[in-house]
């Protein structure tokens, strides 16, 4: 993935002010906020609909929490997800990792930490995908015509 291109970011955060704050600081760095979700279910739907390059998802949201949303999004289409939360307990971090999250920002987050996390997640995830593709692309059987190749 080319890091020079404006990454398309999906934000999921139930608190309006935080969500606006995130949008502003992401757009200030030249990234594109392609969607805003206010809860986990909306995040899953928007991820499906908008196919963002990367998502920033708050853990503590009403309805479906961010970790479950992350799990469902990754099950549908593996994508880089950065979790956002006020808690840094080991168990929560572990469950985010297990759900497939790529990195983890602790609130109150610093504006300067958000975009680097998104960029790193997007590019490293791209590498994961191409490694996965390399495995998937291996033919299981050698075609007879290759015997004389």
């Amino acid at each position: 993935m080319n890091v020079r291109r404006g990454l398309r970011v999906l934000i999921a955060e139930d608190e309006t002010i935080v969500r606006l704050d995130l949008r502003t600081l992401i757009e200030d760095q030249g990234l594109v906020v392609c969607g805003e979700a206010r809860d986990g279910l909306e995040a899953v739907e928007l991820a499906r609909e908008l196919q963002p390059d990367v998502a920033l998802i708050d853990i503590g949201m009403p309805g479906l929490d961010g970790i479950e949303a992350c799990r469902r999004i990754c099950a549908e289409r593996p994508m880089p997800i950065v979790m956002l939360t006020g808690h840094s307990e080991r168990e929560l971090v572990d469950s985010a990792i297990e759900a497939g999250a790529f990195s983890y920002l602790v609130k109150p987050f610093r504006g300067t930490d958000v975009v680097p996390a998104l960029r790193a997640a997007a590019v490293r995830h791209g590498e994961l995908l191409s490694a996965r593709r390399a495995i998937g692309a291996q033919p299981l059987r050698v075609h007879v015509s290759e015997r004389s190749a």
Binding site: V3, R4, Q29, G30, S88, R90, V93, D94, A96, I97, A101, F102, S103, Y104, L105, V106, R110, G111, T112, D113, V115, P116, A117, R119, A120, V123, R124, H125, E127, L128, A131, R132, A134, I135, Q138, P139, V142, V144, E146, R147, S148, A149
Partner: protein, 187 residues
């Protein structure tokens, strides 16, 4: 998790070490500049490195490039600067995390754990891709050798395969090597 830290300012380095050790991590080496970081990474083979961007001799991003080139480990860059150009450079080099200073104890642990986990995934997938590519190359070589034995020695497919297998067993060498030898002679 054994961690290498690189930071030129002594006080900040001590602070970082204390935070990491407080969080249950093992700081296995401390570097004061980029060159030292590369050397210590080679020497101590840490599980992860935390590198400051601005360091004398060699900056953190260039050190990250060399460390990853030697041995792929997850790297988290720490920086007083969040400039996008630095971030992009760091990401292109292969870092897994990028945190701005001053450090926050509660942000370090999650950054380290997520970096380690996803780096492990990447390593496992790359290894699998490599071994699959290797297996595929072996299978192709064997198929080609079988084809040659069938064409030039009039053997059946089973007999050709058996011949390669026996030769492999007798010589204790992998079938791929035998197949390549057959190709070299008959091909």
């Amino acid at each position: 998790v054994r961690i290498l830290i690189a930071e030129d300012e002594t006080l900040i380095r001590l602070d970082l070490r204390a935070m990491l050790e407080g969080g249950g991590f093992d700081v296995c080496a401390e570097a004061r500049n980029g060159v030292e970081a590369v050397e210590l990474a080679r020497q101590h083979e840490p599980d992860l490195a935390i590198l400051d961007v601005k360091m004398p001799e060699l900056d953190g991003i260039e050190a990250a490039r060399q460390i990853i080139g030697d041995r792929a480990i997850p790297i988290v860059i720490v920086s007083a600067y969040g400039e996008d150009e630095l971030v992009k450079r760091a990401v292109e080099v292969g870092v897994f995390g990028y945190l701005t200073k001053p450090f926050r104890e509660d942000a370090l642990g999650p950054a380290i754990r997520t970096a380690c986990a996803r780096h492990r995934d990447l390593g496992a997938l790359r290894e699998e891709a490599e071994s699959l590519a290797e297996a595929l190359a072996a299978r192709k070589a064997i198929e080609r050798a079988k084809g040659l034995l069938m064409a030039k020695e009039g053997l059946s497919e089973d007999a050709a395969y058996e011949k390669l297998r026996t030769a492999s067993q007798m010589s204790g060498r992998p079938m791929r090597m035998i197949a390549e030898a057959v190709e070299a002679v008959l091909g």
